[in-house]
């Protein structure tokens, strides 16, 4: 596997992703896995919302499937999304973590384990602390940690919590994140 990008977002997250995701090119060389906190009871239709706006393919994550480059995967409502050691996606109905299911920590920690230094994790706007532990796990495993700048984020709590546990994370304004991911991509690609 050539690497992976994982993104966590909560309050204000859909708006932030509407800036970030359409700015990624169709041939973006990695899969992008995303957890957004949404109410648990309904299928959220995020994939449908973004599909029309993105150059990349957009899908809902499916259990035990290998994510493909150039494709964005959203965690389904009310399930955790994890990355297995072989890089495939897995779902779980385990208890909420940080009052959240899907939880950003669960995605980031499992992806850090599986991908190590080939992982790029991005923590966006949000009103809770989910994702902070995960971001630290990513950095400890040698991966790349990025947070949306709390000063310009719609809701600063979540990226600030990420920075508190992972002070070396790169801080970027929302519109600078996609160009940064594109720049990072070639140097991370390994045959």
């Amino acid at each position: 596997m050539t690497g992976m990008v994982v993104i966590g977002a909560s309050a204000g997250g859909v708006q932030a992703l509407l800036t970030l995701l359409p700015a990624l090119p169709a041939d973006f060389p990695r899969p992008v896995l995303i957890v957004v906190h949404v109410p648990p009871d309904h299928d959220h239709g995020l994939a449908g919302l973004f599909e029309a706006r993105c150059a990349m393919q957009v899908r809902e994550a499916e259990d035990k499937q290998l994510p493909e480059p150039g494709t964005i995967y959203f965690a389904p409502a009310n399930y955790h999304l994890l990355v297995e050691p072989d890089g495939s996606m897995a779902l779980s109905a385990d208890d909420p973590v940080n009052h959240s299911r899907p939880s950003i920590d669960v995605l980031l920690e499992s992806a850090a384990d599986a991908l190590r230094r080939r992982l790029i994790a991005v923590l966006l706007t949000g009103a809770n602390n989910d994702g902070a532990e995960g971001l630290r796990a990513v950095a400890r495993a040698g991966g790349t940690a990025i947070v949306e700048d709390p000063e310009t984020a719609r809701v600063p709590t979540m990226p600030a919590a990420g920075l508190a546990l992972c002070p070396d994370a790169t801080r970027l304004a929302i519109d600078a994140i996609a160009p940064h991911l594109v720049r990072l991509a070639p140097s991370h690609v390994r045959p």
């Binding site: 499937q65 009310n78 399930y79 955790h80 779980s92 208890d95 384990d113 190590r116 230094r117």
Partner: protein, 279 residues
């Protein structure tokens, strides 16, 4: 160190050894469970059981059989709801039950029943539809403590509001309150609901087929398995079902990528209800 040969993670080595020990000592086989989830659960167990490492946990597990029950509670038990995903139960009621009515006697298997929420849900549904008396329900799980809880049929009262809401949305003909009595903070379900239920220890990883079924409901169990174990489990379901029998999976589970896909037809696609084809 480079990307191609990462330093082996000590936790991962220990987990592999622990799962091997668990299998060889007690014949509980978690070796083909999806590793990322099992690791999260084991990390939780290690912390709550006050172990410094997975190796320490393995040592205790090998030498103290009473550790098995404690560990199983972390590895298997999960909280569910009665009539979880009400639209699934509505589809059973409206689309599957009319077919089941044509059989003089019925067998239903709830595979991986955990604390029994779905067992009671199906028993109520079958009672409401007038099929309960001709049905035997097999409720199976690998965790003896979960089976005991399922057999007791006692749930926290604070869950009842959610259960009631789900029950109504499932197209219920009765009120959930007809089926339980409140006792302080507990709801005790009517024991007659389990008059036709056989609770039994059964592992989808190591056991085989035990009866011919008309309906198998196995929801949010397969997602915890790796591809190999998923294939094994679906193979058991395939073998167990009568011709044109029904299989219900979890909302985000699918036979689409299974080797057994050809043996089943979508019956209610959006609810992941399949019908075994004639062969």
């Amino acid at each position: 160190m480079n990307d191609e040969t990462p330093e082996p993670d000590v936790d991962d080595i220990e987990i592999e050894l622990l799962l091997e020990a668990l299998y060889r000592r007690y014949h509980y086989d978690f070796r083909h469970y999806a590793r990322a989830s099992i690791k999260r659960r084991l990390i939780q167990a290690r912390g709550r059981l006050g172990m410094a490492s997975f190796s320490a946990l393995q040592d205790r597990l090998l030498h103290e059989p009473e550790m098995l029950a404690k560990l199983l509670n972390y590895l298997t038990v999960q909280v569910s709801e009665m009539f979880r995903d009400p639209s699934y139960f509505r589809a059973l009621r409206e689309k599957v039950i009319p077919h089941l009515r044509t059989y003089p006697s019925l067998k239903v298997w709830i595979a991986g029943c955990s604390n029994g929420e779905e067992v009671y849900s199906l028993a109520m549904l079958f009672r409401e539809e007038g099929l309960e008396q001709r049905t035997i329900f097999y409720a199976t799980d690998i965790n003896p403590k979960a089976l005991k809880a399922a057999e007791a049929g006692v749930y926290p009262l604070d869950q009842i509001r959610k259960f009631t809401e789900n029950h109504q949305k499932s197209g219920a003909r009765t009120s959930l309150s007809d089926y339980y009595v409140a006792d302080y903070d507990r709801a005790i379900f009517d024991s007659s609901l389990r008059a036709n239920v056989v609770f039994s220890d059964h592992s989808l990883a190591t056991d085989s087929v035990f009866a011919e079924m008309h309906l198998i409901s196995c929801r949010n169990v397969l997602i915890y398995f790796d591809r190999d174990l998923q294939e094994r489990a679906v193979g058991l379901f395939d073998e167990s079902l009568v011709r044109r029998g029904f299989l219900g999976l979890g909302r985000k589970e699918s036979l689409r990528f299974s080797d057994h896909a050809a043996g089943f037809a979508d019956f209610v696609r959006e609810e992941k209800i399949y019908q075994r084809r004639e062969r």
